[in-house]
Subunit: 209 residues, 2 copies
DNA sequence: CTACATTTGTGACTATTATCATATTACATG
DNA sequence: CATGTAATATGATAATAGTCACAAATGTAG
């Protein structure tokens, strides 16, 4: 697993010296699918770096409604946790392992030091923020401009792209939660997509055609 | 105006040496109300730092629909423009001067150098990203969870807070655009709020009670 | 004051989404 | 294969928002 980490850190474009420090100072964390990593209103002293698997990051409001924000995948860092920690704030979001995942947890107090010494690390942080930002923009686009049927289709296609599989193993209920609508609505719209021969429906499974 | 800049830079918590460099290397840009600073699909080589006035930042899609994202006010930096420039990407958004505004434009190529040398500058960038991030989350909250009447009231209250005034000088049409709905809907909901005695309505002006 | 453009008000209708009630189907387990 | 639970399907109805048409009002320039 250390080798995989090395490979990923190189892939991001970090220099040798930094890679060695990261490998020395962090710790490995394995989480199994659907296990929560960060919950709304809790804070952590580490910045997670995804080695393998996928984290699903969501926003949750006071009443427990949640909207999907973005995915974190192999090689991506969760830059949000930085300022969340620097500024001593509570996290406004919730991260759940979408699949089994392996993370490298980096102690927060080292971040600033690395930012001052390594150009590649500054780039990692800024890029990470920007990537999240862009994805949030897409989320806003779809919530603000798209109707539920389009959003649902986009959701299915995004899933397909990120997992590489044509099958989404979720119930209508779970999909409805991620899109912040009701199960009945999702069932109806999926049925419509099925009639249009864009998906095939099974129990706990949707296949994109 | 240089004094005001100095004051603001100190207020952010930057150290003397950095402040001097910023003052030496940047240039002043004045823009008058409603003038666009950044347009969708265009990129700039400077990072703007707001000295006075307010910038309204919006997301625009291909069909010209737009959603309000957040405001940038005195002392705030537009960190988004950094990676937008570093990664050679086009800006996915649009910034308009809400009122007359004075900006200090910092050449992008200095950013990385400052980030390596000044702790306070790293903090400025990270905080700036985080602040925008938090505001985007609030925007998502309101679009995803709130109904139009609540969003309208929130919009009016936010305006009140940011301008300190109880009067919003906008037509129903303009408000509708910022909330991504139609003029008719805004007129109707404002009328309802008026009946509830929460606002008073005039031509091109709404007063929050 | 008059003419005109812009802004605002409202009724009528449609579209989309939410909600409730109630079937029906699929799967796991004994 | 009988049975129970979770998942899915679907009709009926309501709430919310969008659209169109047109009327009324407000402010401005001559």
């Amino acid at each position: 697993m250390r080798d995989r980490l090395d490979e990923i850190l190189q892939g991001i474009g970090l220099e040798r010296a930094l890679i060695d420090e990261i490998k020395q100072q962090g710790r490995l964390l394995k989480i199994v699918g659907e296990q929560p990593l960060i919950s709304t209103g809790v804070k952590s002293g580490d910045m997670p770096l995804v080695i393998s698997g996928t984290l699903r990051v969501m926003r949750e409001d006071e009443m427990g409604n949640e909207v999907f924000l973005y995915y974190l995948e192999g090689g991506e860092a969760c830059a949000m946790s930085i300022s969340c920690c620097l500024s001593n704030q509570l996290s406004g979001f919730k991260a759940v392992a979408e699949t089994d995942a392996v993370l490298w947890m980096v102690p927060m107090h080292l971040i600033d030091d690395w930012m001052s010494r390594f150009q590649s690390f500054r780039k990692l942080i800024v890029d990470s923020y920007q990537a999240r930002f862009d994805e949030l923009m897409l989320t806003i686009d779809s919530i603000a401009f798209m109707k539920m049927d389009e959003r649902l289709m986009k959701y299915l296609l995004d899933k397909k792209q990120s997992s590489g599989s044509y099958e989404i193993h979720k119930s209508h209920e779970q999909i409805a939660n991620e899109l912040n609508t009701s199960r009945v609505v999702v069932s109806r719209l999926l049925k419509k997509l099925e009639r249009e021969e864009r998906v095939a429906l099974y129990r706990n499974r949707v296949e994109v055609l």
